[in-house]
């Protein structure tokens, strides 16, 4: 097997809350290859952003502990010094954030913010940097690059800002882009444009992309592989077709069932009982989801849930999925296409 672009092995990221560490990312292993979009989905607070920031080591080092390995092109970035890490940030691994207005420095022109990255990672002269910045702005579909170069973030619309953000991210031709909910703040029409843009750039440059989102439709549209997270853990992972057509874990299935869509009109949406436990109250033992499917007996959950490969490349945590069913209006169990055994 060839080398992965990014290989996260048993990563745990813990935050210090009142002198104790709590793992927001718990024993997560993910691989990302070049030329591939891996989507991470899950409810708010399940550790998606924590994971994303871990890769580039952007957490506040005093209040965060990271264990495990993050191999980027075979090199463990967790072992790097901060100065060495800076050689990777932006050059090899770039990030796109959710809220383009706050993620951009309000007092710096767009151009300067793009050039900043260039000035740390390339030997380009000032003029060359400017040319490159305009070129990038053009590339991300900004109609008047020269003008935008001189503008400040607040002078741009939401979609334009996010384009600028992408321009910053791709400035040094990174091999990996981590996009943390890049379209959540945007209107649907703009979202579609940004996703198209992201995808075309990914394809053109052959990059690996980690796309974090909670919108399953977005995942379905652009991702190659999907990682479903719940309470800091990966509970299911597989190709996009596997996950959407043969979802296994009760959580994945519930999520898919709770989305109102424009294409299939259901009368009732599925409701997942309970709420995501907060970081301090996370059950650290057993299946973390079991509290939200009370009708599955405790004994049917694994003691220490593992990821099981149910289909090739399709992993599920815990075996409780085998006992999960939806009820229809009459209260009958509806069974899906579930891997009964392996």
């Amino acid at each position: 097997m060839g080398e992965h672009l990014l290989e996260i092995k048993n990563l745990s990221t813990s935050f210090k809350i009142k002198d104790k560490y709590y793992a927001a990312v718990d024993d997560v292993s993910i691989t990302v290859n070049s030329n591939e979009i891996v989507a991470i989905v899950g409810e708010s607070g399940c550790g998606k952003s924590a994971l994303a920031l871990s890769i580039n080591r952007l957490h506040n080092s005093e209040r965060t502990k990271m264990d495990g390995k993050i191999l980027y092109k075979g090199k463990d970035v967790l072992s790097l010094s901060n100065a060495q890490m800076n050689k990777y940030r932006g050059k090899e691994i770039s990030m796109i954030f959710q809220e383009p207005l706050t993620a951009l420095n309000p007092l710096m022109t767009i151009g300067k913010q793009i050039e900043e990255s260039l000035s740390y990672h390339t030997d380009l002269s000032k003029n060359q940097r400017k040319d490159r910045a305009c070129e990038l702005l053009d590339q991300v579909g900004i109609p008047k690059p020269e003008l935008t170069y001189k503008q400040f973030p607040h002078e741009l619309s939401g979609g334009m800002r996010q384009r600028a953000m992408i321009a910053i991210a791709i400035a040094c031709n990174p091999s990996l882009i981590i996009a943390d909910e890049p379209t959540t703040a945007l209107d649907v029409t703009i979202q579609a444009q940004i996703l198209d843009l992201l995808k075309s750039i990914q394809e053109a440059n052959g990059m690996g992309v980690v796309l974090i989102t909670h919108d399953l439709s977005v995942v379905a549209e652009v991702a190659d592989r999907v990682v479903v997270m719940y309470a800091g853990q990966v509970i299911e992972t597989g190709t996009v077709d596997e996950i959407f057509n043969r979802p296994q874990h009760p959580y994945t299935r519930s999520l898919l069932n709770s989305v109102p869509t424009t294409t299939s009109v259901q009368n009732r949406l599925h409701v997942i009982e309970g709420v995501v436990p907060s970081l301090v109250n996370l059950p650290r033992k057993g299946c973390r989801f079991k509290g939200r499917i009370p009708w599955i007996e405790d004994g049917l959950h694994e003691e220490t849930p593992e990821l099981h490969e149910v289909f090739p490349g399709h992993h599920v945590r815990c075996t409780c999925y085998k006992h999960f069913y939806f009820k229809n209006a009459e209260g009958e169990e509806i069974n899906h296409d579930i891997a009964q055994s392996k």
Partner: protein
Amino acid sequence: MTLLRVNNLKVHFPVKGGFFKRVVGHVKAVDDVSFELQAGETYGLVGESGSGKSTTGKAIMGLNKITSGEVHFGGKDLASLSRSEFKPYKKDIQMIFQDPYSSLNPKKRLIDIISEPIRNFERMSPTEERRMVQEYLSKVGLPSDAIFKYPHEFSGGQRQRIGIARALTLKPKLIIADEPVSALDVSVQAQVLNFLQDLQKEFNLTYLFIGHDLGVIRHMCTRMGVMYRGRLVEEGTSDEIYENPQHIYTKRLIAAIPDIRPEYREQSVNFRRDVAKEYKESYNTYFDKDGRAFDLQPVSNTHRVALP
């Protein structure tokens, strides 16, 4: 039966500037909008951010000053009423807010939050009041011992239900729901949407449902209007709008919705591209030279589109 009729509603906000901070222009947040709500239906209002959806809702509620136009409710034009005359109608129209965090006063216990409207309109003894609050809490599925808790002790979905309970206490006829679920996670969103549907049945409510998630609107609404820059560009039943959009803006909006079925990926990308092209090409036929949409023209009994 028509419960609410909005006629030529305009809400303009002054823009100040110049040497003496005089009014130099207007933001036409809502610019000549007309629609009707039938009793018991859910009417959806969609459009991109800033298109004037909330302003429309607030204008009906009396939270915004109406520049011109009429809001007929129960045979009266609310827009022409004075403050005191308006008061009795307040009971009949209630609002659910987008942000379940900011719409509940963080310093108040639930009992005070939910009983606030009761106190405004009725005199009740404290025990009666408490009983009533508990009744409504149980209706929205919250334990009755929650009355002495503060809003921050509840999750987003629960808080949204608290807000709904508060609105229900006055037994309103019309509820304006301004993006009631857009701040919520999908799982919680489902909970609230189901719940709203249940309540509608139970109390025979009429909803004006404002949203930008087209999936949610489709799920909830029987009829809907599409807004663009303060104007309605298309109005019809949900099926008509989704299956047979006529206005280029509606088309673009529908096309932009990502498809949850991965196998349609290619198809939707291509479709979107085509629509985008069409949008560019035919923009001038759908909008006048100021970029303003035309007035609505009926294309069928239920379907109206802003065509020249």
